[in-house]
Symmetry: C2
Subunit: 485 residues, 2 copies
């Protein structure tokens, strides 16, 4: 006797159509939604039953609860005035790609567990490589996030040092020196986290000071490497960033690459955010040097308009990634393994979602020109905003604007001199909160040389200049009130 | 001037409805699809353009290529006769959950970046905790896979040892002994991979021999621990498995827990597959001991009918996970951080998809009884198949059947004695390939004590006894031919 354990397909069809229509409505006009959720801690949890239902709940009831309970507690990342952290986009083609991927539900761990998933990953990551202007020696592997992509690259660098770390590990060995990786003090926290996970420890990451433009000073880097080598410490990896998180500063990769080559150290470039801009040919010179890197991470799910999550680790030494990660127990052996790519051998996770589908659909749906033109627009909006800030004597830019992120603060002339930095910081923190509380725009912040700064990143496909202008007006309006308060 | 950079929403609506209808058709009748893709290496790649299009491709064209190029190269994990590796399911509610999640496109890294995502993760993982009968000290964190969940647990165990590993790392320290983790020789390869990543190295994982039922012998484990301690090696973590990959054997967790408590060693239970069966109350005694573990991984995306990917790491010491992983640079600070859970502090990846939505929708849509009844059915089918195998003198069961996985081989009496194991192995490998090539069912294999075995796992929500019977008939039919050939 056949058992039907899932819901009636007719119900799925009906609710599925409604979901599609709801998504279209939602994305067509997000004005009714506050960008940052206006929710108190614990509020959503308190609205949900403490225990699961024994009997099935009808799908329409679940959808109602989604709309009435879950939705009011969302921060709307797809909103065109989401300017916090790094803006992202899930375009229509990406939503359908993820819908199909979740129905197929494949695990792309081995070629045979889904040949299309593996081969499309090869093709789509190679398409993007071409869009970025990288040499064809680079092979791409999709991971969830740059945190994991960079960890994999650093594990490959560790393996590449030839110290039998895979076999013997790091602890309790008297034949092993201290190991060090190098990044700027502005490098992303994921580099430090990877250093912890991989057993380098926080002390195993040397944070190189930056100059006034928040870029690594190559001389300081080289000096640090030499000091370490003189002290018997083994350099494992140098990690410049193209587009740091706080200011999107660009480390001088070309000079850093020369240092890495001079001393034979693995070069890993963190271009998780900035990499997207390499699709804009006329500014590709800003990436000079990354073409000789051993590995690079780029996040299509940031400024390349790809549904979250999708990170690509490009590696010109994929065989070293394999050395670091490949383990093939008998139950994962396949007859064709010599002829194909089994992607699980290139990273931490055995199980792998079919992420290449959305990436391929999005690139096709937007076209490479559509993608690079949107990025061009975003950069021009950022310059335009920068110019407005420069022209307003009450505000100051705190960092250059190499891409689409603007870092600034409110600092009216009458406050200078007779008030200290801490007060200015408090006022800017208050300003940020008062802007975000309106629900009309969401910005985030950072601190640079002790200064609390507002950070506005432009990166959503639907963001227009009007969105930036409206937000800049709002900031100025709230700033004045902040001073009165 | 407003710029429209994504496709026309009307096109999305139309194609979206078609995608939903296609999915319903696809899942209603998967008979036309071969379970294992009948594709040659390189075939899909060769059908795709080498470079991306400059101008947008219309969505209907992309969908056509999906159907004509991508689909023929899929292995169909949602097929009711997918019996390989561990079977999975993406129920209708999960597909809609993922569709919504991809439209919302939130990053659940911080509470404020999506309060509902964070709080629903707390609620849904707690619902599942209750379904598994675990004590309420366990808090759940969703990761992509058990590979990553176990790595996080092992990193917490390493941190818990109090050796300042986070700060100082592992290399070049003369104050650090060799470190060891313990698992059975049947433990999943992800444990070994995590040992490599974390710097324990392959030698830092001691694989304890198993008995005839492929279970750890506690005495052998205790002896290994004592030997190591006597030799100055520091035990960090003991990792029994409930449901090993090859045979789904169950390590004696209760006795192992006693050993871990006796010596003060972190106990991490890998129940990625087997954990699901704890929802079946009458067999929960098989899990005895796991309730005192420090950490447990369970994969809803395996036998709990949850759309891939979704792993849960349950930890009774979440503060140790935080110690191991938490890094909060200024740009991730939030005013509410003392009152909320910022999930990025509990694992490797900063960016986190909104996976709790599908999990919550699926549990509600199926109901806890629907889930446990399906698992009961699967276990009974496995017993029934085991009985059929026992009754056929040409076949032999190679391992007990504690859950829903049956490990067996073809070994007719007339082959015994005068032919060696290698020939029997070859015949079984040929048998597996000939069954899989029919496209009617997909099984995988393993090797046990040198014997090549067929592995049939029952775990898809739509699998009925008829699917198992049909496959068993097919195996018998192909086995006879194998002998003639």
């Amino acid at each position: 006797m056949e058992k039907h354990r899932d819901i009636d397909p007719a119900v799925f069809r009906k609710e599925g159509h409604e979901v599609i229509d709801w998504i279209a409505e939602y994305l067509e006009n997000m004005d009714p939604y506050p960008v940052l959720a206006a929710t108190k801690p614990g509020q959503i949890k308190a609205s949900l039953p403490k225990s699961p239902p024994a009997k099935p709940d009808p799908l329409p009831d679940i959808m109602n609860d989604f709309r009435s309970i879950i939705l009011p507690g969302m921060t709307h990342w797809n909103h065109p005035r989401f300017f916090a952290y790094f803006s992202t986009t899930s375009p229509y083609a990406g939503i359908l790609g993820e819908t199909l991927s979740s129905a197929l539900n494949v695990n792309a761990m081995l070629w045979r567990t889904s040949p299309s998933a593996t081969e499309l990953e090869e093709v789509a990551t190679d398409w993007l490589r071409q869009m970025l202007g990288l040499p064809n020696q680079f092979e791409g592997v999709i991971n969830d996030t740059a945190s994991v992509g960079s960890l994999c690259a650093m594990a490959a660098a560790r393996e590449h040092a030839g110290l039998k770390i895979r076999e013997k590990g790091l602890a309790g060995r008297n034949d092993l020196p201290k190991l060090r990786v190098y990044a700027s003090e502005e490098a992303h926290s994921s580099i430090e986290k990877a250093a912890i996970v991989l057993g380098f420890g926080q002390e195993g990451l040397r944070k190189i000071p930056t100059d006034d433009a928040f870029q690594i000073q190559p001389a300081a880097l080289e000096q640090a490497v030499r000091e370490d080598m003189d002290a018997g410490v083994k350099p494992i990896c140098i990690i410049p960033t193209i587009g740091t998180t706080s200011t999107t500063s660009i480390d001088p990769v070309k000079e850093i690459a020369e240092i890495s080559q001079r001393y034979g150290i693995w070069l890993h470039v963190d271009a998780a955010y900035g990499g997207a801009a390499a699709t804009v040919e006329e500014i590709r010179n800003r990436f000079a040097g990354w073409e000789v890197a051993d590995s690079i991470v780029v996040n299509p799910h940031k400024w390349l308009f790809t549904t979250f999550d999708c990170n690509i680790l490009y590696c010109r030494r994929p065989e070293v990634l394999r050395q670091a990660f490949s383990l093939t127990p008998e139950y994962l052996r396949t007859p064709e393994e010599a002829q194909v790519k089994n992607y699980n051998s290139y990273g931490v996770a055995l199980g792998r979602r079919f992420r290449a589908l959305k990436l391929w659909m999005i690139i096709r749906s937007l076209g490479t020109e559509g993608i690079s033109n949107a990025i061009r627009d975003h950069m021009s909006y950022a310059q335009q905003l920068g110019e407005s800030i420069r022209q307003n004597p009450n505000f100051e830019l705190i960092a250059p604007i190499p891409f689409s992120t603007v870092v600034f603060r409110y600092n009216p002339p009458n406050m200078k001199g007779h008030q200290n930095e801490l007060v200015v910081n408090e006022i800017n923190e208050g300003l940020l909160n008062s802007v975000n509380e309106t629900g009309k725009a969401f910005l985030s912040h950072t601190k640079l040389r002790g200064k609390y700064c507002l950070r506005l990143t432009i990166g959503n496909l639907k963001t227009n200049w009007e969105d930036v202008q409206l937000t800049w007006d709002l900031i100025q309006e709230k700033a004045v009130r902040q001073l009165v308060a």
